[in-house]
């Protein structure tokens, strides 16, 4: 087993364990911090497959943006010391059956399929390539989704402001 295999399996174990903790922890702030570790592990995997820009985006947007946003909203809406009550045991059992069934089905398909892995070519995801593809309008360019995403982000930003705005009571200034 080579070095990168050992690193990969270690990161994978970390990701699985922290995802499991994030969905089962009964303290809500801890769940958010466990999510941060799972997302950090994902960024490490992106580094391992040489997608440095994607790894940086993952760290900035997820770890720096979404997790901080989640922690802020936890601080605004919950008591941190409070433990969440356990879900009903029938719910745990039924959901576990559903999850295990889905996992078994997927694993059955994955392990029985032979993927024809290609040896990696020398093409690197450099900033130049990414920029040219992201703004390219010929074949293999992504300028349309890029523009659509920019409109979506603008709409989401305005929508978030409108939804979270406090409606002042009449005459109460």
């Amino acid at each position: 087993m080579g070095t990168s295999a050992i690193i990969f399996y270690t990161i994978a174990t970390i990701m699985i364990v922290f995802s499991l903790l994030a969905v089962t922890s009964r303290k809500i702030l801890r769940a958010a911090v466990y999510l941060l570790f799972a997302l950090g592990g994902t960024a490490a995997v992106y580094f391992m497959v040489n997608y440095f820009f994607l790894a940086a985006v993952q760290l900035i947007v997820y770890a720096g943006g979404i997790v901080v946003l989640i922690i802020f909203s936890i601080l605004l809406t919950s008591h941190i010391e409070e433990k969440m009550q356990k879900p009903d045991s029938w719910k745990i059992i039924l959901t576990s059956i559903l999850g295990l069934g889905g996992t078994t089905l997927c694993l059955y398909v994955i392990t029985n399929h032979l993927f024809a892995s290609q040896p990696s070519t020398g093409v690197e995801a450099t900033m130049t390539t990414i920029g040219e593809k992201l703004l390219g309008y010929r074949e293999g360019g992504y300028v349309l989704p890029f523009e659509v995403i920019s409109i979506l982000l603008l709409a989401a930003m305005i929508g978030a402001i409108v939804v979270a705005k406090r409606n002042k009571p009449e005459g109460n200034g």
């Binding site: 295999a5 994902t42 994955i110």
Partner: protein, 105 residues
Amino acid sequence: MVEQVPLNHALIITTLMFFIGVYGFLTRKNLITMLISVEIMLNAVNLNFVFFDHYLFPGKLEGHFFSLFIIAIAAAEAAVAIAIFINLYRNIRSIDVEQVDKMKY
């Protein structure tokens, strides 16, 4: 990494992560923890895109750009969701799904 880790193992890991997210989404009652579960699922899908791209179609960068767009959409979704949670908390003093039976405000 292609020579040392088979694609099947990578896909097994993302499958496990995805169904952990499904489990959390169905058992949790607090809206913020449900959002955390959704993020875990999205993350597993991103990893899947990157693995398929890296192993089966190297050099084409298609999975890379799909992951990039999914991350952008996830950010927009989280921002709107948290705005809704905060407004809900302001109105009914709770973000428990069982107590949220109207969203008319």
